[in-house]
Amino acid sequence: MSVFDLNNLDLLGTVLSFGLTLIVFSFIFGDNLLFRFAIHVFVGVAAGYAAVMTWYNVLLPEIAVPIIGGSQAERFFALLALVLSTLLFMKAFPRLSGWGSPVVAYLVGVGAATVIGGAVLGTLFPQVLASINLFDFPSSFGNSSPVWVQISNAVVILVGTISALIFFHFGARNRHDRHPERAAWISAVAWLGQIFIAITFGVLFAGVYIASMTAFVERMTFSANFILLFFQL
């Protein structure tokens, strides 16, 4: 049995967990030294963990293992990756930083293409398709509701989608001596869009609130149980 399996370490862990919970929660009362301590430890631990996971799941299997025991082709690709990774690593040091620029440019090119591809195929097309399919009855509202309810719901969603999208319209007309402004009818649709956006934000805010309240309740329940346990001891 390793030393880490001992009960006293479990107890220490619970005490630490309780202490950190109280310390972080003390931020409500204002910034303080203990809060600073806790968040710095947290940032350090999280970064350390992410670094090790990266090593275990990427650098070890993709670079180290193929170089040591891979076929010739695998070794070549891994070596190329190693060289380019070293160049990128130079970005950490200002004097050598220029060497990494080609790799960074490569990453930006990949990133730009990925964001475009993701936006077109992942968001734009599916959302447009979903808007069109609203009128494919019987639809997502379930077969139980009457058709007129389904149609009116579909119309509300459609109006919401289109007006919220038009809300963002940037182009404007020139007006003498004043800021350029959108045409009156676009402004009217945009106003409607704002209504839908406000409702959407309300729903999402409430969702976040409920989710975060769960964390709050869990932490406080944990703390209360710890105190009860402590006094029983």
């Binding site: 929660f25 409500i28 009362f29 204002g30 999280a46 963990y49 992410a50 996971m53 990266t54 275990y56 799941n57 990427v58 299997p61 990925t114 993701g118 195929l121 992942g122 599916p126 979903a130 399919n133 494919d136 019987p138 639809s139 997502s140 509202f141 379930g142 001596d177 004043r178 800021h179 350029p180 704002q194 956006i197 406000a198 729903v203 999402l204 969702g207 976040v208 609130y209 409920i210 989710a211 975060s212 309240m213 769960t214 964390a215 709050f216 309740v217 869990e218 932490r219 406080m220 329940t221 209360a224």
Partner: protein, 453 residues
């Protein structure tokens, strides 16, 4: 959107002037944009723009020059907005002409520090920014490079910084806000601890939602000992909600002796999954052990790109488990060459983007294998369309605490949802009521101040 948040002050007779100025601003920015375009379209070339400096500086500076008065006024206003107690006064003053308002604020402001702190109408010790006017700039046309332009711009900024007094840092009057924060925290705390201390209905379990009933049925319909891909894709922050929801689902699966293959697209996911299994082993009396009953393949890096690669070739992308074993050749996984060979895929996430990635990148490659999404309340609105669509892209949806169905036929009761269900509800009611009270008070105030209009 934000234009509707602030009270509109455009009724002022001075506004005409302000718009004139803004017209000039627009023009100068347009001129610069013309210059910029050449740089935009010629990658990697040093450019010589005949009109750069002349126009570039005015672009930034004239925009401020011409709108100098309004800038200083607005900066005063900004300061006020930062000191958040001022907004009521702002509403009262809003119909007065802007310039007059600016003057009032300049001359009757309170002393912020020194022996006269809090006293109004004291002569300022420093020259007030309101009275500073920049010299008129003559437009000169020079041939300059982008670097020269930037240098000139910086020099200009520095000089301007020298000649202008530095305004006091506006600190918010945070004491009353802090009291409000603390008061809210106390109310919420009491509402959470009350049900715990009085041991009110400990037996109350989360409601049985229609979604979770069908997810439960789906799991029931799969034969015992099936192989399941389980992706634990949530960050530690929302682990309370996600652990609670996922534990009830995994509990069901462990009762049916499913072989679990764990993956994650977040670095902390693999350890999150282990933690959950340790908890369920202790709470539910299971004996799940690595490689015997489950295998942890670890973290799939690269976000959706990595996920797509994994979906196309799981064996190649994740050849080893976290202990370095080549698990794909061991008995439970040797018949699995693609994701469609799994009997079920379960994804737990608090992030709608990650949920979407699974549906968009992985689901099309699953064939007839069903997929269940366990999501946080905050992600539910984004994921639900996939569940309701025809044909449905996900076959099961379990959101937040709507997991009651899993308890109906569970002996273990290993999930921890029921532990704080009452507290959660009471705290949400109290939180909602606090917001309601705040809304009523401020709405009343706002309507009262409007009446004199």
């Amino acid at each position: 959107m934000s234009d509707d948040i602030k009270p509109n002050t455009e009724t002022s007779p001075e506004d005409g002037k302000e718009f004139d100025k803004s017209g000039e601003v627009q023009k100068s920015t347009a001129e610069q944009s013309f210059q910029d375009s050449s740089s935009d379209n010629q990658p990697g070339q040093e450019k010589k723009n005949p009109e750069r400096l002349a126009d570039a500086i005015p672009d930034d500076k004239t925009s401020d020059d011409v709108a100098e008065k309004s800038l200083v006024q607005d900066s005063q206003e900004d300061g006020e907005e930062l000191a958040d107690d001022q907004s009521d006064r702002g509403v009262e003053d809003k119909d007065q002409p802007k310039l007059v308002k600016g003057e009032q604020e300049v001359h009757t402001r309170e002393e912020q520090d020194g022996p006269l702190v809090g006293v109004e109408g004291v002569l300022p010790a420093e020259l007030d920014p309101y009275f500073i006017h920049e010299p008129v700039r003559r437009s000169i046309k020079l041939q300059v490079t982008e670097a020269q332009e930037t240098q000139a711009l910086l020099l200009d900024q520095m000089i301007k910084g020298e000649i202008e007094p530095q305004p006091e840092v506006t600190r918010s009057k945070s004491a009353s806000n802090n009291i409000l924060r603390i008061g809210i925290a106390v109310f919420l705390l009491v509402s959470i601890l009350l049900p715990l201390s009085t041991r009110v209905p400990a037996s109350i379990t989360p409601p049985v939602s229609r979604d979770s009933v069908s997810a439960n049925q789906l799991i029931e319909s799969i034969s015992d000992g099936a192989t399941v891909l389980l992706s634990v894709d949530y960050e530690p922050g929302l682990s309370a909600e996600m652990d609670a929801a996922l534990a009830s689902v995994v509990d069901r699966m462990m009762m049916k002796d499913f072989y679990l293959v764990l993956v994650s697209t977040v670095p902390t996911g693999p350890v999150q999954a282990e933690r959950l299994l340790v908890f369920l082993n202790q709470g539910g009396g299971y004996q799940y052990e690595s490689s015997e009953n489950y295998t942890n393949l670890g973290y799939i890096p690269g976000g959706p790109i990595g996920l797509l690669n994994f979906a196309e070739a799981p064996r190649q992308v994740m050849p080893y488990d976290l202990d370095g074993n080549a698990v794909w050749y061991s008995p439970p996984l040797q018949n699995i060459s693609s994701l469609s060979d799994f009997d079920l895929v379960v994804v737990a996430t608090e992030n709608p983007d990650r949920g979407r990635s699974w549906v968009e990148q992985v689901q099309p490659k699953l064939g007839n294998t069903p997929i269940i999404l366990v999501v946080s309340r905050q992600a539910e609105p984004f994921v639900r369309p996939y569940y309701g669509s025809e044909p449905s892209q996900i076959q099961g949806l379990v959101s937040g605490f709507g997991v009651g169905a899993f308890y109906l036929n569970s002996n273990a009761q290993a999930g921890f949802s029921s532990m704080y269900w009452s507290s959660l509800n009471l705290a949400l009611i109290v939180g909602g009521l606090l917001m309601l009270i705040g809304a009523v008070i401020y709405a009343g105030k706002s309507l009262n101040t409007r009446k004199p209009e």
